[in-house]
């Protein structure tokens, strides 16, 4: 037989002292051990067949708040019948209820139970009784509970027991179910205590004192069950989506791009007009874009920019374009919005940095007037990259994107013709995801139109690409509801491994 631990020894000895069988509560009291310690010891001792655990269910009943009220004043039906008698044994429901001064909540309850208990005869709205009925068992139980506070249901009569369940349904009493445990020494257990167990002092925690005084040589250091589960701890960590943002940023930085950051609130001018989106373009409608109620309007940039943009929209200005053939207005352009793409920041930046080369990027928030569902968010991240230099080409853009997405682990990327209002030629990239055995859309791309760059005096081709971040994140993290990324489920963050 294996050696007994300190708590096990104490439990055995206490049980012996208490005559071999005792409720756990009593053992806790006598031994001075914690309840959990006794139970742990008991479980281990019972597997060693030194004691037996007896379990018994015990249900305690007590009055609820409403029950206490009724115990005091009488059940609503009892109060009503007394009122009815006072009214001469015959009256309408309303009169009875009034006379009984019943609270509003109880009036329907009262008439229901009067009927059910057969205390009245009912004719239409008229109640009639022949005299006060005697106390019933449910009322007796109420007053008994009022007197005693609580009762053990297993110890009351059968009638009382069924009354108790009816009263529970009426929410007048509350039940509390407990399991009582008793421990009893087995024959083997008795033999062991008879032989004598000497309690030795066990030490579980090594202390500086034990180490310095060298007492550790004399005391018994408790052996731990090394296989027992310990408490869980969680490291501090960055959000799983942040990890992917950092991965994307690193890809850009390695490729020599400079990070830019601009206002989240933008004027429609930088978000749309500067990018040659006509003022009646569907994307500018309230349905797609968040406009601001406060503050409502921003300032337009310097006059030569605004004039050039206006003329380009109207008739193409000197760009060689035919323009959109309408009258451009500054009012629409002053409106403040939550930016719908980071390109608003890019074009603003290029207008101020016209000397080549410019290689910039951002991974930043954008907004769409979109109802949230498993596929859509109103606030999300956009990845954007820009190269402006002498003689850069569409093929250079394709080459750059191949390298960029390769760094993000996407080996097969293809480029198709597409359309965006501010790029020409335009393309879109799709990537093959081996895990899902499918192609996904990655980003839109193209060369900024002359109508976009000319008004700001930008002389060289501007290669641009932009795409959503969340899609990539969902793919990497195996999340299929986009809203989950912003739910900040601590359990998920805590338990998501840092390495994938």
């Amino acid at each position: 037989m294996s050696e007994l631990r300190e708590n096990e020894q104490k439990t055995m000895l206490t049980l012996e002292k208490l005559g071999g069988r005792s409720p756990v509560a009593q053992i806790v009291k006598t031994s001075g051990l914690a309840h959990a310690a006794v139970m742990r010891a008991a479980l281990s001792l019972s597997t060693k067949k030194l004691l037996q655990i007896h379990e018994q269910k015990q249900t305690t009943i007590a009055l609820s708040e409403e029950g206490k009220q009724h115990a005091e004043k009488g059940l609503p039906e009892r109060r009503s019948i007394r009122a009815l008698i006072k009214l001469g044994g015959e009256a309408t429901v309303e009169e009875t209820v009034n006379e009984a001064a019943l609270e509003e909540d109880f009036t329907t309850i009262a008439s229901g139970w009067l009927h059910r208990k057969n205390w009245v005869t009912m004719k239409g709205n008229m109640l009639k009784t022949s005299g006060e009925p005697p106390m019933e068992v449910d009322e007796k139980l109420l007053s008994l509970l009022q007197e005693k506070g609580s009762l053990i249901i297993e110890s009351i009569s059968k009638e009382m027991k069924s009354a108790a369940y009816v009263l529970k349904k009426r929410k007048l009493i509350e039940m509390d179910e407990k399991t009582l445990r008793e421990l009893e020494l087995t024959d083997t257990g008795w033999k062991l205590v008879k032989r004598g167990i000497k309690a030795v002092e066990e030490v579980s925690q090594l202390t500086p004192e034990l180490i310095l005084s060298k007492k550790w040589q004399k005391v018994k250091l408790r052996k731990f069950d090394v296989t027992a589960p310990g408490p869980v701890v969680y490291p501090g960590k960055i959000h799983p989506m942040q990890e992917i943002i950092q991965m994307v940023r690193e890809a850009f930085l390695e490729m020599g791009f400079t990070e830019i950051r601009g206002s989240i609130v933008q004027t429609a001018f930088w978000n749309f007009d500067a990018l040659f989106q006509p003022q009646d373009h569907p994307a500018r409608e309230m349905m797609d874009t968040f406009y601001l109620a406060q503050p409502k309007e921003g300032r337009l940039p310097r006059k030569n920019f605004v004039d050039a943009v206006a003329k380009t929209h109207e008739n193409g200005w000197i760009t060689g374009s035919r323009g959109w053939q309408y009258k451009w207005g500054p009012q629409e352009a002053k409106k403040l919005i939550m930016r719908t793409h980071t390109t608003a920041v890019t074009i603003h930046y290029l207008a101020e940095h016209r000397e080549p080369p410019v290689k910039v990027f951002s991974v930043d928030r954008i907004y769409r007037n979109e109802r949230l569902d498993y596929k859509h968010l109103a606030e999300l991240y956009q990845i954007e990259g820009i190269i402006m230099d002498k003689n850069v080409t569409l093929r250079d853009l394709i080459g750059t994107l191949k390298e960029f997405y390769l760094k993000l682990g996407l080996k097969r990327v293809e480029f198709w013709p597409s359309y965006f209002p501010y790029t020409e030629p335009s393309a879109q990239a799709t990537a093959y995801v081996p895990e899902l055995k499918t192609w996904i859309e990655l980003c839109g791309m193209g060369i900024f139109r002359p109508e976009v760059v000319a008004p700001f005096g930008i002389k060289h081709p501007v290669l641009a690409w932009g795409g959503g971040l969340e899609r990539l994140v969902m793919l990497k993290l195996g999340v299929d509801d986009i809203r989950f990324l912003y739910k900040n489920d601590l359990g998920w963050i805590r338990r998501s491994p840092v390495c994938r």
Partner: protein
């Protein structure tokens, strides 16, 4: 974006060859459409709004045949001179001033082509008409009415006709109030004293633009001759819509006949299907695409996109653009046509020679330093939306509502303003994670938006960091230690902790952090009323620091 479902057999009849669904799916994306779905006998594609001519089988088929070089160069369309006249009454000038007409003769329609015609009309209303605002189309059975037609206005109460899909006469006013199309588009005319009407010689109504056609001229599979009207305020949009529709009908077998539109002071003949001319420098195309195409290679590519091109000077082509191409604004648009004709799949990747070194933005650099320190202190990062609402942001935090960025058209009450602080988001995170084990220590390093009148956008974005520690023994001392650990490791010196009384914190257990006489943050124990508001049971201490001044 608009979609079109192409049934294989019907598509084959348009291209005049037999091909498989797989071949369709293989080549259609190289025209700039996206494959949505393929079925056993159909392909569903999404097309871009610039190529509104892809709203018909005929339109897709033209481009498809070009790409595969089955038919190349400019498709030719003949417009026969017709006798039909539309008289324009001067009263329309205040409500919907312009109209163009066209006649299509000897067309054979079936259930599929009528459905296609209706879908195409809707795509044009959306793509060019801006939901019927700029232009709207009516297609009529010409043989049910008598010419000449008059484009005029009618009295809302007394003018009556049977609208499409109804059996009884309704007044124009009743149509706006009761008919589903009337209710949807009434805002385009209901402000005018009289509404636009197109009537025949006998005063019978063809349509009430831009709302609904009359039942009288309903088009069905027995219809042989069509009259088409396009109305609206933007004459360019009318012509574009008309040309896309008419060329598709011509490809469906109809012959096109012109209509004379007589205004009080001038006459317009429509449709005008003359090709537009534009010059393309081959060097410009090669420079943008990174190719070295010869003149003949460029011409071949353009012809594959159903354009014609001829040399007019050294390295310069004169390109003819068919009337249904409404998207060519600039020479650069022709460059893309060259690329599509050449084939995007043939564009080999190259690396730009631009050499630069990467540099991160100082705000992001700071944010990453903060992340590193906070993780070291055992905090876990959360990421919240900037958009929030007043209840979470102010009311639950015991704060008075201040002047903040507010949306004019929020999509839900939950996201109606931009946050000024991070802390309310973190409190909400704690509330959402009550079932998780404690201690809970979380932080966010991200942006808030504050009103700033002087700025171009009357607002500014600022980088903040906030953290909360929530557990049974959380207190001021704990959070002060964490805050000072962060400040020290960010290399800050000389900060001062001063007494303060922000309403979200417990008085006497909260302090402000000052750097060089400027308040940059707060720290302390969250007020128990705030904890109640978020239904939290554990004491919680928190800090929030504005990092913008230290970038």
């Amino acid at each position: 974006m608009p979609v079109i479902v192409l049934n294989k057999n019907r598509f084959c009849s348009f291209i005049g060859r037999s091909i498989t669904v797989e071949e369709m799916a293989k080549w259609l994306p190289w025209l700039g459409t996206s494959l949505e779905e393929t079925g056993p006998d159909y392909v569903k594609i999404e097309f871009n709004p610039n190529r509104i001519d892809f709203s018909s089988y005929a339109g897709v088929a033209r481009a498809f045949c070009g790409l595969l070089e089955w038919k190349t160069g400019l498709p030719k369309y003949k417009v026969q001179k017709g006798k039909i006249v539309v008289n324009v009454d001067s009263t329309v000038s205040n409500v919907r001033p312009h109209i163009l007409g066209a006649v299509i003769r000897n067309i054979r329609l079936d259930v599929d082509s009528i459905a296609e015609l209706m879908e195409m009309q809707e795509d044009l209303h959306w793509g060019i008409g801006r939901d019927r605002k700029k232009a709207s189309i009516g297609v009529h059975n010409l043989d049910r009415v008598q010419t000449p037609f008059t484009y005029t206005t009618g009295d809302p109460n007394t003018a009556k006709f049977v609208p499409l899909d109804k059996t009884t006469e309704m007044s124009l006013k009743e149509i706006l109030e009761e008919h589903e199309k009337g209710k949807a588009y009434r805002y385009l005319v209901d402000w005018a004293p009289r509404y636009p009407l197109l009537i025949d010689r006998k005063g019978r109504v063809l349509s009430m633009p831009p709302i609904i056609n009359g039942e009288l001229t309903r088009v069905d599979s027995l219809t042989q001759n069509l009259f088409i009207d396009v109305t609206g305020p933007d004459i360019n949009a009318l012509a574009r819509s008309m040309n896309v529709l008419v060329t598709a009908l011509a490809d469906m077998g109809g012959s096109v006949e012109s209509v004379r539109v007589k205004y009080p002071d001038h006459t317009v003949v429509s449709p005008d299907l003359t090709a537009q001319q534009m010059k393309l420098r081959i060097s410009y195309a090669n420079k943008l695409l990174g190719l070295k195409l010869s003149e003949s290679q460029a011409v071949r590519s353009l012809r594959k996109c159903r354009l014609d091109a001829k040399k007019v000077g050294k390295g310069v082509l004169e390109v003819s653009i068919p009337a249904y191409r409404t998207d060519i604004l600039h020479e650069v648009d022709l460059v893309e046509e060259v690329a599509i004709g050449y084939g995007y799949f043939r564009l080999k990747p190259t690396k730009p020679t631009t050499v630069t070194t990467g540099k991160q933005h100082k705000a992001e650099e700071m944010a990453n330093h903060v992340r590193q320190i906070m993780i070291g202190l055992g905090f876990t990062e959360v990421m919240n939306f900037i958009l929030t609402n007043e209840v979470v942001h102010y009311k639950k935090m015991r704060k008075n509502i201040s002047k903040m960025v507010r949306l004019a058209n929020p999509v839900s009450t939950e996201y109606s303003i931009a946050r000024e602080d991070l802390l309310p988001s973190l409190m909400k995170n704690l509330a959402d994670n009550r079932h998780e084990s404690y201690p809970q220590r979380i932080f966010e390093v991200s942006d808030v938006i504050k009103i700033k009148e002087k700025a171009e956008t009357r607002s500014e974005r600022r980088l903040h960091v906030a953290a909360v520690s929530s557990h049974p023994t959380a207190n001021f001392t704990e959070i002060k230690s964490y805050t000072e650990a962060l400040l020290t490791n960010l290399g800050l010196t000389g900060w001062k902790i001063k007494e303060a009384t922000p309403p979200s914190f417990l008085e006497g257990r909260v302090a402000a952090i000052h750097v060089r006489q400027k308040k940059i943050g707060i720290l302390g124990e969250i007020h128990p009323e705030v904890l109640n508001n978020f239904e939290l049971e554990n004491p919680t201490s928190a800090f929030e620091i504005d990092l913008e001044g230290n970038l």
